[in-house]
């Protein structure tokens, strides 16, 4: 409730429909054995926008993310990023090009502190070689100092996690872990940020914080956001563009309010038995 | 724990160890120390325990008889588990605590490892459990003594015996895939040629290998009249013999020193009957004339003592004799002098340990005798006279 009030009054979403395409998915199909996870999925993400992918559980959203970030190789179709076809670009290279993501079930590295987890995000943009590292002199030292400064001043301050920077991630609450994951993604110097259910399992307060961060990332950092999310309130409030998929196919896409009232979307959730919950969510705006 | 503390405790332990070997006896003359890297545990423990007992007894006998020209002989052993690094550790430990002139090492690898150190310190003469022919080189290993024939010599003695029994016989050599196992292979080939024997089968078996059926199949094809085993204590010799017998082969089987312990051979059961081998010493039970040492051993220990015991015993009295020669000559006890003292040993009467007087040649004593197992007596009995290689 409060969520929607805040967003309506202060940060009403700006539409970027005229923006240039930063990420394009064309005819993407993916199958595991005989099971089709995605079939001919196409949509486009405009630079500077927040685009959301919605759909019932098992619709193929995470498979879509995994295909975009290069963890799965699609059977058909292409992913274009910054005008470049990604089909033969391995995942680490996509990361280096500016594709950053978070994970549905949090993939922080438990053996490292919050700070090191965030620093890890910068990996692909650093030059330190093994010899530098062993000697910790010259480049390694300089690079690490620069990174530390930037992480501290830009990311940790921004996400308000300075009090936990030296803690081990394993000891953190779920909400904080999600925030650290976002911090790590930001450290990757992203051009596009793929967020896989950024507020799942969060309480209201945490959700509000996260919504604010996502908007700030777009507005202040100028980073395009593509997210998968079940929290319809959040999706409707933040998104510039919504893509709904079910059974691995795009049912409809468009502006949030268009998608919200689209009959196929309703029936998609109906088919999955979520319809009552969905109606309730839409009604409440949450 | 700090290293210093460890060192202090080590000293304490060593003192304790010294007590059991009977260290503290007042004497105006300086003690002569015999250090030992002894494999009291591990895969070679059966030998190590025997060696240890043999050295301990001979040291006692020597000291009871007034020591070495009045100098008391002190034996300082350390367990090595038959590992080279542990042996080196033991050497370092013992030499840092004592002024060591005599040393017993447990393996060929250790002897080679420590040899440069012996040369450098120039204080010590070393003997040991290794009969490796490689060590029988006074130029390269001036501080090492082999208490018997080398492995090549052992195989040579056996082949000599074969050539006498059956000229031109077909001979097989089965050896373990270890350093000392490989030692006599080349030498055996040369000796066979010299003696006109047909060495038509050489098999190496992996250590710890359990199944020898394919090797036996090879043997079945080569049909050697004699097969010499080298580099084993027991397994897989019985299996070879058992399978050969069941295939109806009448091959005669032989072993080298470390396969020749009476009890070990006895463990083969019925197939042990007729097993032959070379042994440089008399057995514990040998009844020989003029063998006071054997009598003494039997009076000290009333049960059978292994061939390893004899080896340790013999090593000690030879080392003591070398030291005696040095002292008699009024020289300082050091490596080169001890080696001279050793080389000076001529027609030395061992009191029956060896059947004939001992003369050192090179770094070794190339004497041996062929024995054969008699199942009815459950004993190895001589089947040749003492053979001296020249």
């Amino acid at each position: 409730m409060q969520m929607s009030q805040v967003s309506e009054q202060e940060v009403s979403p700006t539409l970027h429909t005229e923006g240039r395409e930063i990420l394009g998915v064309q005819g993407l199909s993916l199958a595991f054995g005989g099971v089709k996870a995605l079939s001919h999925v196409s949509f486009s993400v405009k630079e500077g926008s927040i685009t959301s992918v919605i759909g019932p559980n098992g619709a193929g959203k995470t498979s879509l993310f995994n295909s975009i970030s290069g963890f799965y190789t699609p059977n058909e179709g292409t992913v274009k990023f910054l005008g470049q076809t990604m089909n033969n670009v391995p995942a680490p290279d996509r990361a280096e090009l500016g594709m950053a993501r978070t994970f549905q079930n949090i993939a922080l590295f438990k053996g490292m502190t919050v700070l090191d987890n965030i620093k890890l995000g910068r990996h692909a943009h650093m030059k330190t070689n093994p010899l530098d590292a062993l000697l910790y002199f010259g480049r390694a030292r300089r690079e690490e100092a620069e990174l530390r400064k930037e992480v501290e001043e830009k990311i940790i301050d921004f996400l308000e996690i300075d009090h936990i920077r030296n803690q081990s991630v394993a000891a953190l609450s779920y909400g904080l872990q999600k925030r650290v994951e976002l911090a790590r993604a930001l450290a990757m110097k992203p051009k596009i940020l793929l967020l896989d259910e950024p507020v799942a399992g969060m309480n209201r307060e945490e959700t509000e914080d996260m919504a604010r961060f996502i908007l700030d990332v777009k507005e202040e950092w100028g980073v395009t956001v593509l997210m998968v999310e079940h929290d319809m309130g959040l999706v409707m409030d933040l998104s510039d563009h919504v893509v709904c998929i079910n059974f691995g196919q795009v049912i409809t896409e468009g502006l949030p309010h268009e998608v919200q009232s689209h009959p196929d979307v309703i029936s998609a959730y109906l088919g999955s038995g979520d319809v009552a919950a969905l109606r309730k969510k839409f009604k409440e705006g949450k | 724990m700090s290293i210093l503390k460890v060192a202090k405790r080590a000293t304490g332990a060593l003192l304790a160890a010294g007590l059991i070997t009977g260290a503290a006896q007042a004497s105006d003359k300086k003690d002569i120390v015999l250090g030992g890297s002894i494999p009291l545990t591990g895969v070679f423990a059966f030998a190590g325990v025997g060696i240890h007992a043999g050295i301990t007894d001979s040291v006692k006998i020597i000291n009871d008889a007034g020591g070495i020209e009045g100098h008391k002989l002190v034996y300082v052993p350390e367990d090595t588990a038959y590992k080279v690094d542990a042996s080196v550790a033991a050497y370092n430990k013992i030499t840092s605590q004592h002024d060591v002139n005599l040393y017993y090492g447990d393996s060929t690898a250790f002897s080679k490892t420590i040899s440069p150190e012996l040369d450098r310190s120039g204080k010590t003469l070393m003997t040991g459990a290794s009969f490796a022919s490689e060590l029988n080189d006074p130029e390269k290993y001036p501080n090492i003594f082999i208490p018997g024939p080398t492995y090549v010599d052992m195989v040579g003695i056996l082949m000599k015996h074969i050539a006498n029994e059956k000229p031109g016989a077909k001979v097989g050599l089965v050896h373990s895939e270890t350093e000392f196992g490989r030692d006599p292979v080349e030498g055996a080939k040369a000796t066979a040629k010299e003696l006109g024997l047909d060495l038509n089968l050489v098999i190496s078996t992996a250590p710890g290998g359990v199944d020898v059926s394919t090797e036996v199949l090879k043997m079945r094809r080569a049909r050697p009249d004699y097969v010499i085993f080298h580099g084993y204590v027991l397994s897989p010799i019985p299996e070879f013999i058992g399978q050969a017998r069941s295939m109806g082969l009448d091959t005669k089987f032989m072993g080298t020193f470390w396969s020749m312990d009476n009890q070990m051979v006895g463990k083969m059961g019925e197939i042990a009957d007729g097993f032959m081998g070379v042994m440089p010493y008399n057995y514990y039970y040998t009844e020989a004339e003029n063998a006071p040492m054997l009598e003494k051993i039997r009076s000290m220990r009333d049960t059978y003592q292994s061939n390893a015991y004899m080896q340790g015993f013999f090593s000690t009295i030879m080392m003591a004799e070398a030291a005696r020669n040095v002292i008699k000559a009024g020289k300082e006890l050091n490596g080169p002098n001890l080696h001279e003292g050793l080389e000076a040993i001529k027609d030395f009467d061992t009191g029956g340990l060896m059947g004939i007087p001992v003369t050192v040649k090179g770094n070794s004593v190339p004497i041996g005798r062929v024995y054969q197992y008699d199942l009815s007596k459950k004993q190895m009995v001589p089947s040749s006279d003492w053979i001296r290689l020249d």
């Binding site: 994970f103 | 190496s204 992996a206 094809r221 058992g242």
Partner: protein
């Protein structure tokens, strides 16, 4: 080419392959049910052989009684081991459990050395000694009978595994521990029984292996070849263990016969390398799909 020799070697290889298959079966079974690679299988096998020696030579019991007692005692040890050190590790990483079995192997060697000493020993001969000739080809009687026994045990085992109720529980547990638990299968009991059962199989194999080549505390290295067998066959495939067992037996024996004893281990592990390159999860193993 001496074809008779070739076929005789083949027979001998088949014989040792049978024993590999039997021990490999035990290893696969543990893995299937508990996801543990038991690196101590070789040492359990050794323990079985020593216990047999203890009963037959030490206490002079009849051979048949000694065999049964040795198998039972070793099974009991397996059960105790499972309760004492494997169960507390449930849920730990595969590597930790792998290491704990290495530790176990070491402890078993030490215990055997304390009780029976480090010297190599021979088991009492209990198999017929008449040579076996298959056509013209000679087969060492011990190897032949050992193969026969191994084959019977493997056969019996497979029948039990397919039909008996416990076997079904075991297979269910192998498929999905959590699901099996929710279906009312007593998973801890299955774990215990698997350790008991496989230790018993290993003890039997140990008696056979020991009666062929003698026993010593370091005969646990036999476990290394068995490890190759199950990796080549696929860690979770019973069929794989049987086929790879025979394969490893043959390759090892041929390498030993034609190249020399020192090539045996090399050939075995070369096979392993080749299989790992071509089929990383073994000839019949399942590749687990990784999830993000």
């Amino acid at each position: 080419m001496d074809w008779l020799f070739f076929s005789e070697i083949g027979l001998a290889g088949l014989g040792s392959g049978g024993l590999y298959a039997l021990t490999g079966l035990a290893l696969v079974l543990i893995y299937k049910a508990t996801r543990v690679v038991n690196m101590a299988i070789g040492e359990i096998l050794m323990l079985g052989a020593y216990v047999f020696m203890g009963f037959s030579a030490g206490l002079a019991l009849p051979i048949w009684a000694s065999i049964i007692l040795a198998i039972l005692v070793t099974g009991l040890v397996g059960g105790v081991v499972e309760r004492a050190i494997i169960r507390p590790m449930l849920g730990e990483s595969a590597i930790s459990i792998f290491m704990i079995t290495i530790g176990l192997g070491s402890v078993l060697i030490g215990v055997v050395e304390i009780i029976w000493g480090a010297n190599p020993q021979r088991l009492i001969e209990f198999m017929p000694k008449d040579p076996i000739f298959i056509l013209d080809a000679y087969l060492s009687p011990k190897v032949g009978y050992a193969f026969l026994i191994a084959a019977i045990v493997v056969g019996l085992f497979l029948i039990i595994f397919r039909t008996w109720r416990g076997g079904v529980a075991l297979r269910a547990t192998a498929g999905d521990q959590a699901a099996a638990y929710s279906m009312g299968i007593n998973v801890p009991k299955v774990f215990s029984s698997v350790w008991v059962l496989t230790s018993m199989i290993a003890a039997g194999a140990g008696i056979l292996v020991g009666s062929i080549g003698g026993i010593s505390p370091d005969m646990g290295v036999y476990g290394l070849s068995v490890l190759v067998v199950v990796i080549v066959g696929g860690l979770d495939s019973l069929l794989g263990a049987l086929i790879a067992g025979i394969l490893v037996g043959l390759i090892e024996t041929y390498a030993g016969a034609y190249l020399g004893g020192e090539f045996k281990m090399l050939a075995t592990f070369m096979l392993l390398v080749v299989v790992l390159v071509i089929r990383p999860y073994g000839l019949f193993g399942t590749h687990e799909i990784e999830r993000l």
